[in-house]
């Protein structure tokens, strides 16, 4: 048995999206910038996608959608554009949270080196940022608030509609990295007062290497890539039309089946959470209810995540971990540290992100095998031995 439970990393492309991509690649041979018929047919198809994406996100106009290479590029462009535009006006302060994706955090680190001031608002143990904390962090020098819609590790949903409302009242631009949320939970940029939004196609069963940045009309973007006049002069390079068509088809499917999928996923998710909760000295990371329908993230005391991950893979379960060993640094996940997990237990984390194709039998298989692997790793863990002997205090 092989169970793919790492859908927050990437998803399987949908048949509909793949078909649409192949058809597009064969049918639209022209470059949308060319003036001949083939070029203009491709330009029309590109516009159809832009219009569709805008409508699926609740945007007013097609021109507010800029196609990018993915979520990271969209995050970079949104934040750099806003920061550099407001610098000349003396607005050099940015508000964000401690557990953003690195595509946001590393941009902010670079801006700090360039003289910007960044406030990273802390998050509580439930993994949800408080609107009051964002409000307190905003000063008259703040040019941007950037808060993710759903956390990529623990899946917690952030109060982005409330933050959007607050930012609108304060006259501050609001960007949300919605890479994990789009296609999985309801997003409407108009209703939620979002000025800038990043998304990535491969997180909702679309192709990799394509994403989009929504920028409200009037929000001026700065180029990351200079060259031709594609994307209204804001992103040079011939448009990857087949990928854009695939992304549009995938998002249409995802939005159409959003409620039905969420309902099914929540049942599976809660079954998985209930099963894993029975493992002693374990804890669910992030709020139990207010999280992505697909996301389960646990810490198990006395073991290390990478070995758990590899042994689960050996039993056919594909997951991920926030342990230091999987992050390539000495520190475990910044997300788990941000919600207050001590390093000792943050090393023993496991993220399982389900897809609608998963079954109850598969969930039960995951529970059984996780329990067995955790028990085995504890049996060879000197940390567990000390915990059991009372030489070390249990944290969980």
């Amino acid at each position: 048995m092989r169970i793919y439970a790492d859908n927050a990393a990437t998803t399987k492309i949908s048949d509909g999206a793949l078909r649409a991509m192949v058809e597009c690649a064969q049918k639209y041979i022209g470059n949308p910038s060319s003036l001949h018929t083939s070029g203009q047919l491709a330009a029309e198809e590109l516009y159809r996608c832009r219009e569709k994406m805008a409508s699926l996100l609740g945007a007013n106009e097609a021109r507010e959608i800029y196609f990018t290479s993915g979520g990271s590029e969209a995050d970079n462009q949104a934040i750099f554009s806003t920061a550099y535009r407001f610098r000349s006006k003396g607005k050099t302060h940015i508000v964000s949270t401690a557990f953003e994706h690195h595509a946001v955090l590393h941009v902010l680190e670079r801006l700090e080196k360039e003289g910007f001031e960044v406030t990273l608002v802390p998050v509580n143990e439930d993994g949800i940022v408080k609107v009051e904390d964002i409000e307190r962090a905003i000063t008259d020098k703040t040019c941007l608030v950037t808060v993710m819609a759903a956390n990529n590790e623990i899946g917690t949903l952030q109060p982005i509609a409330e933050i959007g409302k607050l930012c609108r009242e304060k006259g501050v631009l609001f960007h949300t990295d919605a890479v994990q949320a789009v296609g999985h939970v309801k997003i409407n940029v108009e209703e939620m007062n979002i000025d800038l939004l990043s998304l990535s196609a491969h997180k909702f069963n679309g192709p990799r290497g394509v994403g989009a940045l929504y920028a409200r009309r009037g929000v001026i973007l700065k180029n990351l890539i200079e060259g031709g006049a594609q994307e209204r002069g804001k992103r040079a390079g011939t448009e990857n039309l087949p990928a854009i068509v695939g992304m549009t088809a995938a998002l249409e499917e995802a939005v159409a089946s959003l409620d039905a999928h969420a309902q099914k996923l929540i049942t599976l998710r809660d079954r998985l959470i209930a099963g894993l909760s029975e493992i002693p000295h374990s804890v669910l990371n992030g709020d139990k209810e207010n999280r992505l329908p697909s996301n389960v993230n646990f810490c198990f005391e006395g073991i290390e995540g990478e070995s758990l991950l590899l042994l689960l893979d050996d039993r056919g379960v594909e997951a991920s971990s926030g342990s230091a060993c999987t992050s390539g640094s000495l520190d475990p996940s910044h997300v788990l540290l941000a919600i207050g997990r001590p390093k000792d237990v943050a090393h023993g984390s496991l993220r399982l992100t389900l897809a609608v194709e998963n079954t109850e039998e598969e969930v039960d298989y995951i529970i059984k095998n996780t329990r067995e692997v955790v028990e085995y790793l504890r049996s060879i863990s000197p940390v567990w031995e000390e915990l059991e002997k009372g030489e070390r205090e249990f944290i969980l």
């Binding site: 342990s323 230091a324 475990p332 000792d344 060879i380 863990s381 000197p382």
Partner: protein
Amino acid sequence: MLYSEKVMDHFKNPRNVGKMEDADGVGEVGNVKCGDIMKMYIKVRDGIIVDVKFNTFGCGSAIATSSMATEMIKGKSIEEALELSNKAVVEALDGLPPAKIHCSVLAEEAVKAAVKDYYDRNGIEYDKEQFCSGDCEHCCGHND
């Protein structure tokens, strides 16, 4: 793949894993905050390590390097065990990713810590410089 076949073999089927109640020397190195702890037990007869066991909290390569290190010192003299280098462990495992080299350092230090404990218990004189200072940041930082 991240790991060689040998690393995966020693990780999935670790040799000499377990505890030893009547050990002649026990060494523990690492830090739970760094994500790796190795505990090594040795049984010594006439200067020869006749048995060795280990317990490890850590990633795949931490478990594999512990396992390999125990195999490499079992049946050897104390002096030979002290000569075991992290490099030899890495070579025996057909290599480790650069970020995991510190695991092999930990395995070397675990062997030394067990020997040091054996020396201490038996009042045997030794050069203290030869052994782990207990500051694992030192090793982690330099081998990453």
